[in-house]
């Protein structure tokens, strides 16, 4: 029987109903998500049987909302890499209640992101050619290998952080688990008995993963940016695209983490564990990232504009034209850069609710930004195209693409819901360790406080 602290007990008690059974409310939620996914599957069926003509993609604009979604989902997967990896290495204590949510975002988003690539590929029957005829000099090959490696890394990292919890669920008398679930937890717990040797191995492995996952995440998003950056097209061929994409990914990942924290705190009454300070600290990280991202954005467009190269100027004009992408471009800069900075910088606005709303707007703006990276460039070809139908030159999203986009979001939420049936969203073992450390500190003269609102 593993030792659990008082706080750990509270976490287990809070999440026990989720682990033990599925309530009617949850079933309704799951069926709603399945309904959205079914809508997407119908759209996919149409796309496969009728062809890509049901999408807005044509000869010129060959990438659309699917690629924007792909970059977006891979971007938000950074939540886990940064919060779990970076803060783990720095031994930042306040990370503990939120790491499980961050790691789940990483794994689920990394799983869903590449699905959008599959939707974009016209000949799914030739998908295996990517492996069979892979060319190492192709950025697409780099992407396939980097993302699959990143997904495996994310899964290992999540698993390492959950072994102790699985052992707690296995041994808990508090949880009224079904037989199969307890058996599953016993298998997943790997015979963990809290021995010093086992703890040392988990710690060494977690440290190793934390070290690897950060450069790996940077490589993944750099490689993703190089798919654009290696192409000689206006708006894409940029040397700062690698770091620009990495920063944007960490930024949007932090935003999604803040939104999830706020939703789960409200939904499961987790105010005793996810404190206001968590929002403030993550808010500070978001502010720094917003400033950095704003700097990159300004630098990117300033150099492009100043150079006055013919095709780039044509592209930039579209971003400042109210009839074209002016409104969206303004939204990405105001909602995606200025708003989060203002909300976090002004003490009166630095509240969980406001930070979550600002994060929501920022995440939406970051999605729009990905759209603005992909589509307007393709609508600005280097060779002038004459005698072509307007719909071939101008991309517009069809209902099929919207359906598949929303079903991707629904799948993200569904996988999160399913994951919450197998693990507590706040790690019991981490909360227990945190409390133990505080007790140790109090015994050595440091004041111990019960977690409360700031």
């Amino acid at each position: 029987m593993l030792k659990i602290s008082h706080a750990g007990h509270e976490v287990l008690k809070t999440f026990a109903p989720l682990l033990e059974r599925t309530r009617t409310r949850e079933w309704i939620w799951i069926f709603f998500l399945l309904g959205v996914i079914a809508w997407g599957l119908y759209a996919l069926y149409l796309q496969i049987t009728v062809g890509h003509t049901v999408t807005g993609m044509r000869d010129n604009v060959v990438w659309g909302i699917y690629i924007a979604n792909f970059i977006f989902f891979i971007g938000i997967s950074y939540a886990g890499a940064v919060i779990s990896g970076f803060l783990h290495l720095l031994k930042v204590e306040w990370r503990k209640p939120i790491i499980r949510i961050a790691e789940l975002i990483t794994v689920i988003a990394t799983f869903i992101g590449p699905l959008f690539i599959l939707l974009c590929v016209g000949r799914l029957d030739r998908l295996h050619h990517l492996v069979l005829y892979a060319r190492l000099q192709s950025p697409i090959t780099w992407d396939v290998l980097a993302i699959s490696t990143y997904l495996v890394g994310g899964l290992i990292f999540l698993y390492l952080a959950t072994i102790k919890d699985f052992a707690i669920y296995r041994d808990s008398t508090l949880l009224k688990l079904s037989k199969w679930k307890r058996k599953l937890f016993a298998i997943l717990a790997l015979n963990y008995r809290d021995t010093p040797g086992q703890n040392r191995r988990i710690e060494v492995s977690a440290n190793l993963m934390a070290i690897i996952i950060i450069p790996l995440a940077i490589i993944v998003h750099s490689v993703l940016s190089w798919i654009f950056g290696m192409t000689l097209r206006p708006g894409w061929h940029s040397t700062i695209f690698g770091p620009y994409f990495v920063l944007a990914a960490i930024y949007s990942g932090t935003g999604v983490l803040l939104i999830c924290m706020w939703i789960f705190r409200k939904m499961y009454k987790l105010e005793a564990f996810i404190l206001d300070k968590h929002f403030s600290y993550l808010g500070y990280i978001m502010l720094v990232l917003a400033a950095g991202y704003g700097y990159f954005t300004f630098s990117e467009y300033l150099t492009d504009w100043y150079g006055s190269e013919k095709w780039i100027s044509q592209l930039i004009r579209k971003f400042f034209d109210w009839d074209q992408y002016g409104a969206l471009f303004l939204f990405t800069n105001v909602g995606g850069i200025l708003l989060p900075i203002i909300v976090v910088a002004v003490p009166k606005l630095r509240k969980p609710g406001y930070i979550a709303i600002a994060s929501g707007i920022m995440v939406l703006a970051m999605w729009v930004k990905r759209y603005l990276i992909v589509v307007p460039t393709l609508e600005t070809p280097l060779l002038p195209i004459e005698d072509i139908r307007p719909e071939y030159l101008k991309y517009s999203i069809t209902w099929v693409e919207w359906a598949l986009t929303f079903s991707g979001i629904a799948l993200f939420l569904l996988l999160f819901t399913i994951a919450a049936k197998f693990m507590t969203l706040i790690p019991v073992s981490e909360v227990t360790d945190e409390e133990d450390e505080k007790i140790n500190q109090s015994q050595h003269g440091t004041e111990f406080k019960v977690p409360a609102h700031e």
Partner: protein, 309 residues
């Protein structure tokens, strides 16, 4: 009255009988079959045996050396639209004043549906009205119907003469119709000048002939030529009713020398092997990550097998 009503009833019965017999006869003779529905096999067979309608267009081009090129475009109607029809034999005939045909030769249509036939007009006599008369004929086959097209051409020629200045080039043209009374100038004709490019001909200049059938047109500088700056220049008076196309060709070193030698790009996506540094970097990076994964997985196995002390 009774008799009348009886005869009326009799008429009605005999009318019904007549209709019944008619329907039965129709059923037996199969006349009603199209109404009742057809055997599906028969429909397929009919489709397989379907005759595609073909259409031909014949045009001619005359060159200064007296050669005439006849060009027949064969198209067949497939699913409602005419499509270019390759690999079909086309016969070209010349017609005399008595409308008697004499075979000039046969050619086969290419992938573009065009069959071309070139011959020298000096070997042929013009008709009494001073024209040449031709027919191109496609005999058809089991699947495609035959078709033909005729063409009447007045003999004429377009002569092109290069004029080289210090740093400028121009082309002097003379368009002449060859009538029974001797050469006559072709006035008010548009001469278009083209340069051969990789996929098609690029129009570079244009001029209109004067009353003497002459015109001089400046030729642009700086066009990309081959390694020796050669350009294939073509001049055309296009699609006239009387003369067809009048064409002239020449090659002049009036372009800019460009080398098209294929040099292997050091990092092309299609090159046989990626650069060595890329292979090394890739294996070092991926190897480093996956070795760590392996170490962690081994650690997980050890956690499982470790016995509590």
């Amino acid at each position: 009255m009774v008799q009348n009503s009886k005869s009326l009833r009799m008429n009605k019965v005999s009318g019904q009988l007549q209709w019944t017999i008619l329907v039965l006869v129709a059923l037996f003779t199969g006349a009603i079959q199209p109404i009742c529905g057809q055997d599906s096999t028969a429909v397929i067979e009919e489709k397989e045996d379907a005759v595609f309608k073909t259409k031909m267009t014949l045009t001619g081009s005359q060159f200064p050396d007296g050669s005439i090129q006849l060009e027949a475009l064969l198209r067949s109607k497939v699913e409602g639209s005419y499509q270019k029809t390759p690999k079909q034999k086309i016969s070209f005939f010349a017609l005399n004043d008595a409308a008697e045909e004499s075979l000039l030769g046969d050619t086969v249509t290419g992938e573009d549906g065009l069959a071309r036939f070139v011959f020298y007009s000096e070997n042929k006599k013009v008709n009494e009205d001073g024209t040449f008369s031709f027919i191109a004929r496609y005999d058809g086959n089991d699947h495609m119907s035959g078709s033909e097209s005729d063409l009447i051409l007045n003999p004429a020629k377009l002569v092109m003469e290069p004029v080289e200045g210090d740093s400028t080039y121009s082309l002097k043209f003379q368009a002449t119709a060859l009538t029974s009374d001797g050469p006559a100038p072709i006035a008010e004709a548009t001469v278009s000048i083209y340069v051969k490019r990789m996929f098609s001909n690029l129009k570079v200049a244009e001029g209109t002939t004067d009353a003497d059938g002459m015109v001089e047109v400046d030729f642009p500088n700086g066009l990309s030529g081959d390694q020796e700056a050669n350009l294939d220049i073509m001049a055309k008076i296009e699609e006239t009713d009387e003369y067809g196309n009048l064409e002239a060709k020449m090659t002049k070193p009036w372009g800019k020398p460009v080398s098209y030698a294929i040099t292997e790009l050091p990092h092309a996506l299609w090159s046989d092997h990626p650069p060595v540094w890329m292979i090394v970097t890739f294996f070092v990076l991926m190897g480093a990550v996956w070795i760590h994964y392996l170490i962690i997985i081994i650690n997980l196995f050890r956690i499982k097998t470790e016995k509590p002390s």
